[in-house]
């Protein structure tokens, strides 16, 4: 479509009026009209607190660290979602094992109060039956047991106690002392 193919005329620029007349006015009177958002649009996410197990897969996948596992009280692990940092990539939805995260088409998220932008899901922690320390979440323990029933034996032991039991089992089996 080179220049030589286009026939040029002196008054050709008046064609702009024809183009303008045909297209009308394309301005969208937002917010008095609906914005042009397709059904595929990725907006903010919605975490279902009944399904979330606090495993942290979404935290690992999130590129800008909008999802974080924080401590709200001593030992209680919580999932915090900060919309301010979210890039709406929906990777968290891809990797969530229980499908607890749902994507919405919301993007009108501006607010004066920054606490509106935080969603915090507090999980009840597991309590170690030997030393009483709080670790991980109860739901995570239940989930792991459904996937692999064998672990029911030690799912309610915290990692240190678990390690000690394992070392003791090796001592008993092979003799000697393990440091």
């Amino acid at each position: 479509m080179s220049l030589k193919d286009m026939r040029r005329s002196r008054l050709g620029f008046l064609r702009a009026l024809v183009i303008a007349g045909r297209s009308g006015r394309v301005t969208r009177r937002y917010p008095y009209e609906e914005p042009l958002v397709t059904s595929d649009f990725r907006g903010k996410i919605d975490i279902d607190e009944t399904k979330c197990i606090g495993c942290g897969a979404c935290v690992n996948a999130c590129p800008p660290n909008a999802l974080e596992l924080i401590n709200t009280r001593d030992g209680y692990v919580s999932l915090r979602y900060f919309v301010g940092r979210c890039i709406f990539c929906w990777r968290c939805i891809d990797v969530c094992p229980t499908g607890a995260i749902k994507g919405t088409r919301e993007f009108e998220l501006a607010t004066n109060d920054i606490s509106d932008l935080y969603d915090i899901i507090v999980h009840e922690p597991n309590r170690c039956r030997e030393c009483g320390k709080l670790f991980s979440t109860k739901r995570m323990g239940d989930y792991v047991v459904t996937k692999s029933p064998l672990v029911e034996n030690y799912v309610d032991l915290d990692p240190d106690c678990r390690r000690n039991r394992f070392l003791k089992a090796i001592e008993n089996r092979f003799g000697g002392r393990v440091g």
Binding site: F13, A20, S23, G24, R25, V26
Partner: protein
Amino acid sequence: MIEYLVFSIVFIALSLLIPPLMDGIERKIRARVHSRIGPPITQTWYDLLKLFEKELVIPEGGLHIIILSLLYVMLAILTIVFTVSMVLMGYHYVLIVIITLFLFVQAIFTTIPFITSNPFAIIGASREVILALVNEVFFVIILGLYMYFTGSPGLLLGSTSLLRASVILLVITLFVSAYVASGRIPFDIAEAEPELASGALIEFSGPILGIFMYSNFIKRLFVKLVPSMLILLPFISNWLYLLIGSFIMAIILWILYGLIAALLGRTRVDIAPTSILKIYIPFITVSILLYLTGY
């Protein structure tokens, strides 16, 4: 006498209030050509008033810039005031006064940016000088020839001797000159925003910018009033009706010019003079020939 005073005041008030409103209408038309909604018609007035509320920042170049800017706006207003009142009065030398005042206004407008030491302003002002050297000179030449052809330095109301081809051709050329002098695309090279970041006006902000912009609007009305009056002159026999007719025609011209400006691109300072001269020289030569051959 009282009538004359009342009409003068009414028309002066109109000519001071209408230009920003017309600019608002022009923006609406441009928006329609762009397929947009555009700002409301009163937006330009709102912008000017908002500018006057802002703090006064003395531009680089000192206090005399402010004084000169005030002089500029006073001259612009004076030009309109004199035009309106002299026409209503039927003053005999009205065309000469118009030319003088307009040249003063243009001279101050081009000089002020040179005093600021901003390189953008200097480049913008030098472009304006080049354009003015072509356009204003021909403005004077055309009006001078008009006065010579009609034999009077004033307006010959209702005179059918003005229906000669040479005179009409001169007035048509004046319409073109009015377009160039109004600082629209393609000839807004003095304030080319993408190239010079506002060029000649770059050092002005707040009330001073408001003054400049307002004066530019008044100038735009003025340059459209003059050819409108001249073209309607043969057909109207009453000064009042002449003024009313000229105003209406100036408003229509404003809309038309705005439409044309939306359809063209900006020219360049080396191309502009030649493209203008390509129109003026043929027209004026033909007009002189017509006059010499008796038409």
